[in-house]
């Protein structure tokens, strides 16, 4: 590595860190990603000119791989709907983990010229990368509804422990006998299987935390590879992502009021959720016309959207509805639960896409005191995040999670596709309350009709 390359890598690291810093504030976030992007571009360009890139064939392969990869990623990234962003992040992250694992394996194949410390780091990198790779793909499949349920095998925890033990034994073996390169394959496979068995039993609602964790793990694997390849840019960027990713995972879990360990090592107990499902008979349904009148003659309306709204692609119609109510002089606010959508912050992105301005969007702590002087709370496609069981049913699986107190509004209208349960599989007692009315139907369709009726009032 010559001096020029070193200096460019240093500049890249600086740009990446500066970008990350800017990305943690809404005003400068866009600048941040652009800066980081330029950092990456110069690093890639200078790497092309490194003198020790072996034969010309490898160079051709490199160009081919980069072109194919870039086309796939560009196309999928541009085309993906905002609602599917979380699983796309998981997928891209898994790719990074896989790459880190592959690079570490290549280094293990060159065992002759590496010290035991380097091989140790390479083994760590290969293992963490492989877990992140397969685990992220499962996370993608779960959020994409390819895998629809939690899969728990018999003796699942024992299986996990066995796999961890097996991979550690293989790693030690490879550390002591580095020339036994054939054992790299089972080592990689077992680590990959570990990623699968680790992720399969975790429910979709907890997936964001898991994705964030894999993100941090990939960062760590990249950092390890930095040591293996003696490349400080990879070291610093990888470790910074590993550390910030770990903190972000904690913040997300906190926003969901969950403990990371309990997410990773247990699933919601099914027996409890059926226990509180006794009453579903008190639900009162309401028609669109009555809903429209109720809203049109209110003075203050709070809309609490959930993931179901995004699934129905109703955010643009909701924006139209809010606009119309405002024209009638009604105060409209949006109350967003931290985990509305699939991830903390996901719903804000979806509403922003629909052109709802930020000063109308309030988070949980800001909006909760306001429900008591609100005429109509409109719940659309949200379920668990408005479930009072989180406050008053200590044996509920979601007990303790902060929720939006919609029930303290004078009237609560719930737009819902059917009588089903929320993402967590827990029954919602809100729907049985006296001031709550259910408006059944497809979100987009219902809101569209609401808009029409209000327009003609």
């Amino acid at each position: 590595m010559n001096n020029m390359t070193q200096i460019i890598y240093l500049a890249t690291t600086l740009l990446l860190l500066l970008g990350l810093k800017k990305m943690s504030s809404p005003k400068t976030a866009m600048n941040g990603i652009v800066l980081a992007g330029w950092g990456m571009v110069i690093a890639i360009l200078v790497t092309f000119f490194m003198p020790n890139l072996h034969g010309f064939v490898n160079f051709e392969l490199m160009i081919a791989a980069m072109v194919i990869g870039a086309v796939i990623a560009w196309y999928s990234g541009k085309k993906v709907m905002m609602i599917q962003i979380p699983q796309m992040i998981a997928l891209y992250n898994g790719m990074g983990g896989g790459a880190a694992s592959a690079i570490a394996i290549l280094e293990l194949l060159h065992y002759e010229n590496s010290s035991i410390a380097i091989r140790c780091l390479a083994l760590f990198g290969a293992m963490i990368g492989a877990i992140s790779f397969s685990g992220s793909i499962i996370a993608f499949a779960k959020l994409q509804d390819i895998i629809k349920r939690e899969i728990v095998l018999p003796l699942h925890q024992i299986l996990n422990v066995t796999l961890i033990a097996a991979s550690i034994i293989l790693a030690l073996y490879l550390l002591i006998f580095p020339d036994q390169i054939f054992f790299i394959l089972p080592f990689f496979l077992i680590a990959s299987v570990l990623g699968l068995t680790f992720t399969l039993p975790i429910g979709g609602a907890n997936m964001p935390v898991v994705i964030s964790l894999f993100n941090a793990m990939t960062g760590l694997a990249v950092g390890f590879n930095g040591f293996v390849l003696n490349n400080p840019a990879l070291m610093v960027a990888g470790i910074v992502v590993g550390a910030s990713g770990t903190l972000l995972t904690q913040l997300m879990a906190k926003a969901m009021n969950k403990n990371i360990l309990s997410i990773l090592f247990s699933t919601l107990s099914k027996s409890v959720s059926t226990e509180s499902s006794a009453t579903t008979d008190n639900m009162k349904s309401i028609e669109v016309d009555d809903t429209a009148i109720m809203m049109a003659y209110a003075t203050k309306v709070i809309i609490t959207p959930g993931y179901g709204m995004a699934v129905a692609q109703a955010q643009h119609k909701i924006s139209e509805l809010a606009h119309q109510l405002e024209q009638r002089g009604i105060a409209v606010k949006f109350g967003i639960h931290p985990v509305a959508g699939r991830m903390p912050g996901h719903m804000n992105v979806l509403l922003a896409e629909a052109g709802i301005s930020y000063d109308k969007i309030f988070d949980l702590d800001e909006i909760n005191p306001e429900f008591s002087n609100t005429d109509v709370a409109l719940v659309i496609g949200a379920n668990d995040v408005v479930n009072p069981a989180a406050i008053n049913e200590p044996n509920s699986p979601i007990y303790g999670m902060p929720v939006l107190n919609v029930s303290s509004a004078k009237n609560v209208l719930v737009i819902k596709r059917g009588k089903g349960k929320g993402f967590s599989g827990v029954e919602n007692s809100l729907f049985n309350m006296d001031n709550v009315h259910m408006l059944y139907g497809d979100g987009m369709n219902v809101v569209n009709r609401l808009v029409q009726v209000i327009k003609n009032l």
Binding site: K21, M40, E107, M343
Partner: protein, 99 residues
């Protein structure tokens, strides 16, 4: 322990603190974009993949290296595109009014 090793340990400590401190006060609305942004940043593994493929000496290594460069590129490009699309909506001057 060599001097270089010590420097690396210092580097690790500083990097951990940097990572932790940088996003300490990030608002919830930025969690998803920030996760996507860090996802892009660890895409720097592409540099490692390029170096590793460049040093490949036999077909097996070339295959693994090719695969590594391919998926690392997906990480970088995908991570950037998705993050940029999300953050595009955070621009404050974008006050589009509904017709």
């Amino acid at each position: 322990m060599s001097y270089g090793m010590i420097i690396i340990l210092y580097l690790i400590i500083l990097a951990i603190f940097t990572g932790y401190e940088m996003i300490g006060r990030v608002p919830v609305i930025l969690h998803t974009p920030l996760m996507s942004g860090t996802n892009f940043i660890h895409g720097i593994i592409l540099i490692g993949a390029m170096i590793a493929l460049g040093q490949a000496v036999n077909p097996l290594e070339q295959i693994i290296g090719f695969f590594a460069v391919l998926i690392a590129t997906i990480n970088v490009v995908g991570g950037y595109v998705v993050t940029e699309r999300m953050l595009e909506m955070f621009k404050t001057d974008k006050k589009t009014t509904n017709p």
